[in-house]
Symmetry: C2
Subunit: 135 residues, 2 copies
């Protein structure tokens, strides 16, 4: 099983293997502990470096951290958000995206979640960042 193992070194490959083998979503520390079983000399910093590389290459995804700190919103009515993948800005989306409740219920049930609220998130670059660096 070497799939798209092209240009990965042993450490990166070990990290990717751990991630592929795992059913849940491990944290960086958990990945570190697991990888350490195969490569005891690896350091936490290296794991973080590799995780970022793999994410950049699109081989894995980083989840659960949209900005480096929490943001607050006084609008408590439901509305969706746009998140800038570059600067982390959090934008309200004025036009609400309607999702049929039955679809949501079904999905929640499939995931084993007691549905509370929901949110649609759009990821991309905000206008400021688009203007800042025209790639």
């Amino acid at each position: 099983m070497m799939e798209e193992t092209h240009n990965l070194n042993a450490n990166a490959q070990a990290v990717l293997d751990v991630l592929r083998a795992s059913e849940m979503h491990p944290t960086a520390l958990e990945v570190y502990r697991l990888v350490k079983q195969q490569r005891p000399r690896i350091g936490l910093a290296t794991v973080y470096r590799i995780l970022h590389q793999l994410a950049e290459q699109g081989r894995i995804k980083e989840l659960g951290r949209d900005a480096d700190c929490c943001r607050y919103d006084a609008r408590t009515t439901r509305h969706d958000h746009g998140i800038c993948t570059q600067c982390g800005a959090l934008l309200d989306i004025p036009v609400e995206i309607a999702l049929p409740l039955e679809t949501l219920q079904a999905a929640a049930q499939a995931a084993g979640i007691e549905l509370g609220s929901h949110e649609v998130r759009l990821y991309g670059r905000c206008t400021t960042c688009q203007n800042a660096n025209k790639t």
Copy 2:
């Protein structure tokens, strides 16, 4: 303008006012700095305490932090997530929730975002937490 100011003390009211007045989504530190202009003796810890209280009361919402650390996923195909509001578990939602691209495009445009990817998030308690404490 006292609206639903019932049982809020001066500090909490000041925090809520700042949040209501602000167009963007301030971080805790930004809220602290702004509130300090009105109440110079307030401390950062108090701002955090008040923010959590207000969120608990549903007067504001906390955004951008789903767990206390980042989680990784080797599945890079698009799929949605369920997030446990109690333990922070991140669950894949196997049945993808289809959103019409045109709707997304329109919403992204309205928010001024160059649409990259999107995700639907369902918030609620996971099965483990439901069993753990039957409220």
